[in-house]
């Protein structure tokens, strides 16, 4: 069995947005839809996402505190592909499920009715309802040919790029992190990159108290 996951070293992340852009293009995401958002953190409250232009902030990269005692860090957030995903049991049609062979939390778009249950149920707020015909910046279908369909009335989120994984590749956000902050692999393999990266480090599971068992580990 495999349980795909990633470890993100927050000391290495410098907020460059490359993972977000890689995801945007590889998945041919429409205007305003982002599976991966890099939040600016201007405080040390790690129960909150932070702020991002992608979710309505005016600017990224603003420090908090009082000069010169300032605080600034970054928090890349996407679906945590939880071991006990809060979004799955609340789905009335079974469209949202955890794939036991990969640990990836998937969506059967044919069965999704866009009812909002997963959106409300997910403590990470990483689900987006496609409310009307998706619009795109350009007229070219970019990214992978089998990117998610972005069908009106369905809910989408990070897929861990399962289409790429099936071809032996890595998720788009993992393909090249300029800070070398991201580690990808099988969490069930003790020698995998995400497990090795955790050694000797303080590991944060985001909103751990929700009992979701995220497959994304943050190193602080």
């Amino acid at each position: 069995m495999t349980r795909y996951g990633m470890t993100i070293d927050l000391n290495r992340c410098f907020g460059c947005q490359t993972c977000a852009a890689a995801c945007k293009i590889a998945n041919n995401l429409p205007i305003g839809l982002n599976y991966c958002v890099v939040y600016t953190k201007s405080d040390d409250d790690w129960t909150q996402d932070g702020t991002a232009v992608a979710t309505g902030a005016i600017a990224n990269d603003s420090a908090g505190g009082t000069y010169p005692d300032c605080t600034l860090s970054f928090f890349p957030l996407q679906c945590q592909h939880c071991a006990a995903p809060a979004c799955a049991p609340v789905c009335p049609t079974g469209a949202r499920y955890r794939d036991p062979d990969t640990g990836i939390v998937k969506t059967n778009y044919d069965d999704c009715i866009g009812c909002d249950a997963c959106i409300s149920g997910c403590p990470y707020k990483v689900n987006t309802l496609i409310t009307s015909d998706a619009e795109y910046y350009i007229d070219i279908k970019v990214g992978e040919h089998d990117a998610p369909p972005h069908t009106t009335g369905t809910v989408e989120k990070c897929t861990f790029c399962d289409n790429l994984i099936e071809r032996g590749e890595v998720p788009a956000c993992m393909q090249l992190c300029p800070g070398r902050a991201r580690y990808w692999g099988d969490l069930d393999d003790p020698g995998s990159e995400p497990n090795k990266a955790k050694e000797g480090r303080e590991v944060m599971l985001y909103k751990e108290d929700q009992g979701t068992g995220p497959s994304v580990f943050y190193l602080k």
Binding site: F14, A63, I140, Q175
Partner: protein
Amino acid sequence: MDEVRKLQGFSRRRFVQGAAVLAATGMLAGCSPGSPGTPGQGGGGGGSASETTIYSGACRGNCASGCFLNIHVRDNQVVRTSARDFPNTDYNRICSRGLTHMGRMYGAHRLLYPMKRVGERGSNDFERIGWDEALDTIAEKWQGYIDEYGAQSIMFFMGSGNYALLSGSCNWAGPYQRFINVLGLSYCSLNVDAAMGFGSSRATGGIDLANELTDRKNAKTQIFWGNNPAVSMPQTMHWFLRAKEQGTRLIVIDPVYNVNASKADWWLPVKGGTDGALALGVLNVLLEEGWVTEDDLRTRTNADLLIKEDAKFLRMSDLGVEPTEEVNPATGEPTTVDPLVVWDSDADKAVAFGEAATTALKDVKDIDGIKVQTVYENALDHISQYPPATAAKVCGLTEADIRELARVYHEDGPVTTEIMMGCNHYINGHYTSWPLYLVGLLTGNVGKPGAAMGTSQEYLPMIFYSNVAAAHYPTAADGTPVPGQAAYLHTMLMEGVLDSGTYLGEELILKSMYVHCSNPIVTMCDHEYTKRWFDKFEFVVVADVCMTETCKHADIVLPSAYWFEQIDIAYLFSTHPYLLWQDKAVEPLGESRPDYDIFGQILGKLGLGEFWLTDEEYIDTILDSDYWRSVGVTPENLKANKLARIYPEGDKIASTEAFATETGRIGLYIDTVVPAYVSGNPIDESIEHGLHWETPKYAGEDREHRATYPYHFLSEHMRTHTHSQWWDCEYVKEYEAEPIVKVNPDDAAELGIAEGDILKMSNAQGSVTMKCALNAGLPRKMISSSRSWQLDDFIDGHFASLPPKEFNQVCANQAFNDVAVKIEKV
């Protein structure tokens, strides 16, 4: 093409291709480029996907990254770009820009056919024309100017928009220079990023002090000084962070608590533009503590040279020894040798430099009745004006900070000092650069593993070892040389030249300009001034991939093919030591053509086609040198391997065995002041021979200007634009949506400003209006914004209207940071 991925089992709607797609959405219907934000129909469920082909390519704007790319092509369209493997995968790289090329290639602003202006300059009122009409018009106009005023009446202007060989710019080796030389055109410099090199060359003679990025692991300390790699050079960042994890101490000297500062072991919040005072304070400590000794200065610098009252060095000819004629071993040219003089303290007499075992550093009495001062005395006179306590007050740090920084340079080496343009963008920036470089140079933190200064942007072999003699200076069939470049001009002087029809007292009537890989109306200081001189040209041709603000001021706009629509070589100013091969991944979109071909076609129309080469011939010519062959850089290797290393294997470590100064040593004084540009204005040489420092002319806190304009306005790069490039890409607006001014929260409270308010920043020269964000990382009375947006992006005014066009008396350098403004809430 080096890889084809067959993807089975997908049957989707067949996509129309290339320009046809754009026609379908109305982008070809009008003659002006489409309006931004027109939603496309891209994703939906469309797209034929039988096959994706991957080509080699390079992202090559002026961010100094030079990212090696896989270009994913489906149905003859670029659909994705991804990082391609370097031999050392630590060099692998891509960013939000490199990932979103499709937004530029297929975006609403892409130029698809030649156009001529039919409205006012700047109006965006253009008509589509054919290539024949465009080229015929250019040839007819230019031939007329050449016949009446000479070819010097046509001026070439380029920016750093493309660091490729063939269709690129600013690379010293490109065919643009052959084009200029064949016609005999005048040329105007961009005049950017000049102060740091100009100042440091007084110490070094201009040699490279940067080590390859792979060397950062060897540094015990790395210091970012006026450098913001997290934003400006993101592909260098992981080398620094990894070194830090392995024990290298990271120190950041920056007025702003930014991402770099957040990663630092020690952040020094220096007051903006006062880094020179900090460096001079450090030099005082180094001397006071004996960390730089008189013996160090005697043997490693020109401190023992003697300065006469006329500010020139004492030479043997002053003592009656006739100069000799010798052949310069470097150039083979005859040269006059008039040795410098030092005072031999053992023999108690003046001797030629190099002939004394021990030289005097001070108190040298008159020699043959000539009053002299040592360079040591001259340097100390200036350095001693900034003891740590004084320097601390000027630069907003504590005396302890300055002493600690000095100690670090002395004890915690090897130190790599990462210097970029933060201190450069002031009118008097070169006065800062000299002492700043001396800190690293005098403490021996150069020229060895872990010890370096500058940034690892690679360019030396490309400039020095490319065969430019053959590539740039063709001869006619009868052996006649081409005319070569005419006048060499500077932006600050342009309006005066255009108004007077003279340059430095000689007639120079300028009629036409050709703009290549550049968007000067956005990127040059003093927006109104730039527009004024730009619009004084009778006939302007701009070639670009998209309809920039500059294009709107052209008479003819030529559509350049995109980077991936032609073969080329990513050539220089990358922070990796490789040349990268660009495959032609797709056909040029619409009627666009490679810039390389456009040059040849213009020459052809002017009857000068014999001087142009095919693109492959040009590559063969420029790489035809013993150096390139010695390191295996050949056209064949590049095409086969898609990249080639420019240095022998192993970390490239800069050599500092000999500096390029007259003595071969570190310079503390120069006796001949050579201005970096000729203005015709008088020069006060008294502050140029030796060390001298002053606060920024407009941004300096002590300047009267700041009483009226209390805020120092810092100009920043963006993560998602490379200068003004990617302005045309909608994808990246999800990370940086619009121009924003960032304000310290306490200043905001004082001004009654909240996040999201609209502010007008103005000074005597101009104004700009934009939304504000609060950022506690900014010190009081400093605000910041990005100099990367076009006129239409601002609520009102233009950010480029605020910085001065003015140059220092000897250094032509756009002073983007030497800006003070007042703020009004709108």
